[in-house]
Symmetry: none
Subunit: 410 residues, 2 copies
C-alpha cells in the first residue's frame, strides 16, 4: 500500500483562526482510494521550515500532498518552496494566464501584478485548473517515482479539484477500493441506534460504525474490495439488514433529508411552503442549498416578529396573547396560514426558543413546536432539547421540520 503524507500550510491554522477541514477531506478521499495517510502536518508560512518538512515527508513517503499558500500575496509561497526543493524552475502556463485574465474581466476588477504570480507553475507538472478560484493546483511526478501535489487551501476550491483532477491521477497509486454508505436516521438517539444495530457493529468487512451530528444519528457502512462492484456487493446485504432493523427512522441511504423531501414532493407532483420563526430562514436555506429546489419549493414566510406572524400568516392575536408565539396552537396556525396564502399543497411551520437565553418568557430555551398540514390533516410535534446552544437548537429544529414534511408525504 502506498504511503502518503499531507502538509497543510498556513500560519492562520497554527494561530487557531481557521479549522483545518482540508486534512479530513483528503484523508477520507485517499482512504477510499486505498492510499494510506501516515501523517498530516500543519506548518506556517515559513519557507525554511516548510522546505525542511517537505523534504522529510518526501524522503519517507510515496506521495506528498500540500494544501494552501497558493494565493496571490507575498506570504503565499508553497509553490515556490516545493519547486525549489525539487529543483524545478517556475514557468508561465498560457492557459492559466488566460483564465486569470478572464476572471478579472468578468468581475470588472483590475488584474494586479501579484495576480499574475498565479499563472506560474513548476516546469513539467500537470496543471490542475481551478474552476472555483484563481489559484491553480499542480501534480508533479519525481524522478524517483514519487508524486507531489499542490492544492488550494479553501475547501470549496480544494474539494472539486481533488475529485475532478487529482484523484484520477492518484488512482494508479491506490490499492483496491473502499466504498462507504451512510444509513441515515431521524428521531433516534445514537446509543439506541447502536443497540438496534447489535452485532452488525462487530463486522470486519464491511465495517459498521455509529455517528451522531446535530440531532441526527447515522451508521457508516464501509467495505474494502478489489473494485467498486465488489465493495458495493459487500455493503448491499448489510444495508438491507440495517434498514429492516431500524425501521421507519431510516429516512435514506446517503441522501440528505432535504433531498428526500424534495424527491417525495416531485414524485407526487406537490409543492411546499414553509413558515419559520426560530429557524429564521434556516429550513428554506437548507432546502434551497439543493439545486433544483425550485421544482417543488414555493416560498418561506420567515415571520420573526409577532406582528409578521399575524400580518403574513394570519395567526390570530388571541392565540399569541393566550398561548404565546412558542406554542402548539401558533405552530398549527402558521402552517395553515402558509398553505393558504401560498397555494402550496403542503406547509410546515416551526416556532421556538433558539436561545441562548429565553428572555421575556417563562419557557425554556430549546422548546420548539412544529405544525404541518396538507389540507386534509394537521399534525404537530413538540421538541425539548434542554440545551441553550442556539446553533444546535436551530439545526435540529430544521431537521425535525423536514422530517414532519416527510411524515405527511409518506
Amino acid at each position: 500500500m502506498k504511503l502518503c503524507e499531507i502538509i497543510n500550510v498556513g500560519t492562520e491554522l497554527l494561530l487557531g483562526e481557521i479549522l483545518n477541514r482540508d486534512a479530513q477531506i483528503l484523508c477520507e478521499k485517499l482512504a477510499a482510494l486505498g492510499i494510506s495517510v501516515r501523517r498530516a502536518m500543519t506548518v506556517g508560512d515559513n519557507p525554511g521550515r516548510l522546505k525542511e518538512d517537505f523534504l522529510l515527508a518526501l524522503g519517507r513517503s510515496d506521495i506528498v500532498i500540500l494544501t494552501g499558500g497558493l494565493g496571490p500575496t507575498a506570504d503565499d509561497l508553497t509553490k515556490e518552496v516545493v519547486a525549489e526543493a525539487l529543483g524545478l524552475p517556475l514557468a508561465e502556463d498560457a492557459a492559466q494566464k488566460e483564465r486569470i485574465e478572464a476572471f478579472f474581466r468578468r468581475r470588472g476588477y483590475p488584474c494586479s501584478k501579484s495576480n499574475m504570480k498565479q499563472a506560474l507553475v513548476p516546469e513539467g507538472c500537470t496543471v490542475l485548473y481551478n474552476d472555483n478560484g484563481t489559484a491553480p493546483g499542480c501534480f508533479i511526478q519525481t524522478g524517483e517515482g514519487k508524486a507531489v501535489a499542490l492544492l488550494p487551501g479553501p475547501p470549496r476550491e480544494l474539494l472539486p479539484m481533488l475529485e475532478q483532477s487529482l484523484l484520477p491521477l492518484l488512482r494508479p497509486y491506490g490499492s483496491g477500493v473502499i466504498v462507504s454508505h451512510y444509513v441515515r436516521t431521524v428521531r433516534l438517539g445514537e446509543s439506541r441506534m447502536a443497540e438496534l444495530a447489535g452485532e452488525l457493529l462487530d463486522m470486519e468487512n464491511p465495517t459498521v460504525a455509529p455517528y451522531a451530528k446535530e440531532g441526527e444519528a447515522y451508521l457508516r457502512v464501509s467495505a474494502h474490495g478489489a473494485d467498486r462492484e465488489a465493495a458495493e456487493a459487500l455493503c448491499d446485504p448489510v444495508i438491507k439488514k440495517l434498514k429492516k432493523m431500524l425501521g421507519i427512522s431510516v429516512y435514506s441511504v446517503d441522501k440528505e433529508l432535504g433531498e428526500v423531501v424534495l424527491d417525495l414532493l416531485t414524485a407526487q407532483g406537490k409543492t411546499l411552503a414553509l413558515a419559520e420563526s426560530c429557524t429564521g430562514g434556516g429550513v428554506a436555506a437548507r432546502l434551497t442549498d439543493l439545486p433544483g429546489a425550485s421544482k417543488a419549493f414555493l416560498c418561506s414566510f420567515v415571520t420573526y416578529s409577532n406582528e409578521a406572524k399575524t400580518a403574513m400568516l394570519g395567526v390570530k392575536p388571541s392565540v399569541l396573547s393566550r398561548f404565546g408565539a412558542v406554542s402548539a396552537e401558533c405552530a398549527r396556525q402558521m402552517a395553515v396560514g402558509a398553505r393558504k396564502r401560498s397555494g402550496a399543497d403542503v406547509a410546515v411551520a416551526v416556532t421556538g426558543i433558539a436561545g441562548p437565553s429565553a428572555e421575556g418568557t417563562d419557557k425554556p430555551a430549546g422548546l420548539i413546536y412544529f405544525g404541518a398540514t396538507d389540507g386534509a390533516r394537521i399534525i404537530g410535534e413538540k421538541l425539548e432539547t434542554g440545551r441553550c446552544d442556539r446553533g444546535y437548537n436551530r439545526a435540529i429544529a430544521a431537521k425535525i421540520a423536514l422530517a414532519l414534511a416527510r411524515d405527511l408525504l409518506l
Copy 2:
C-alpha cells in the same frame, strides 16, 4: 518566545472519520498566552512512529502537547509511548483510581481491568484530573526544562481540562500576550485590498496579513506585547491607518456584517425586512444566527417561485414576463413590496441565478441583482460572479444584500 508542537494521535483522524478540532482549540489558546505553535502533526495509533515523531518534536521545541490515545482500549497508547521515551515508569495514582471506581459505581457498570489502565500515570507528573470522562491528562517537566502535556482527545473533555488545569501550568512558558483584530471589508478583492494596504503588510509587530473568504477580504492585525494593553496599543494606530487607506469598504473591525447591520438598525430605532429569491432564506438565517436579531429584524419573504413573488410581494407579472425574475426591475419591486407589506423601515431584496446550471434562461449562473429601499430612496446593485458554484454564489449574495442594507443606513 517558547516554541510548541502539537501531536494529535488517532488513526480515525488519518482515515478522515473525525474532524480535528483539538488542534484549532490548542493553537488558539496557546497563541493568546504568547506561546508560538510551530507545527501541528496528526499521527496514527502506531507506537513506533509516535515515538519517533515525539522525540523529533521534543528535540526542536520547548513544549510538546499530545492529544488522544488515553482511552482504556488496547490501541490507546500515547501515555505508554511518551513515558517510555522519557524513561519514566508508570505508577498508579490513588486519587485517579478512586475517581474511576466512583465513576463506575455511579453508572452501575462493573469496572473492568482495562479501565484501571487509566489510573496509571508517568511517575513524577502533575495529574490533570478529568471532570468529563475517565482519562486523566498529565503534565511533565523534563530535566532539560522542557514541558510535555497529554490531553484526552474528545473536545468536550480536552477544552475544560486545558482551560482549568493546563493553561495555568503553561503560563510561565508564555511570553506576553498576542492580540489579533480583523479589519473586514466588502466589495474589495483580496489582491486589491493587499495593494491598498501596501507596506503595512511588511510590518513585524503588529503583523498585517490578508485573507479572503466567501467573497469577503479581510486583514488580520496581530500584535505581541507584554500584556493585553500593550498589544492593543500596538494594534490601534495600524488599524486606524488601514481604515483610512481602505475607506468605505471597511465595514467593521472584528464584527460580522450582520452584526453591523443589526447595530445600525438598533441605534437608529429602525426595522428591517428581506425579500429573498436565490439566497432562499440564507440572508435571514445569517442575521438570525445572531442572538437578539429579533430587536430589529421583522421578517423575510422567501419567494422562490414567480407566483410567490407576485402574491407575497406584489411584483408585477409584466415585470416578470418582460425582464424576468432575475432583473434589476424585479429586485427593486421585491424590495418595495417587502417594505410595504411588512411595515419595516428598510427592506432589501436579492434575486439571481445561484447555479450550478442556469436552466431555462439565457442568463448566466452567478448573475445576481439586489434592491434596497428606505422609502425615500431605492438603490440597486448587480453582481456577476462568473462562477457556477451554488454555495459560493449564495454566500456572496447574502453578503452583498447585507452590505446594501448598510449603505442605506449609513
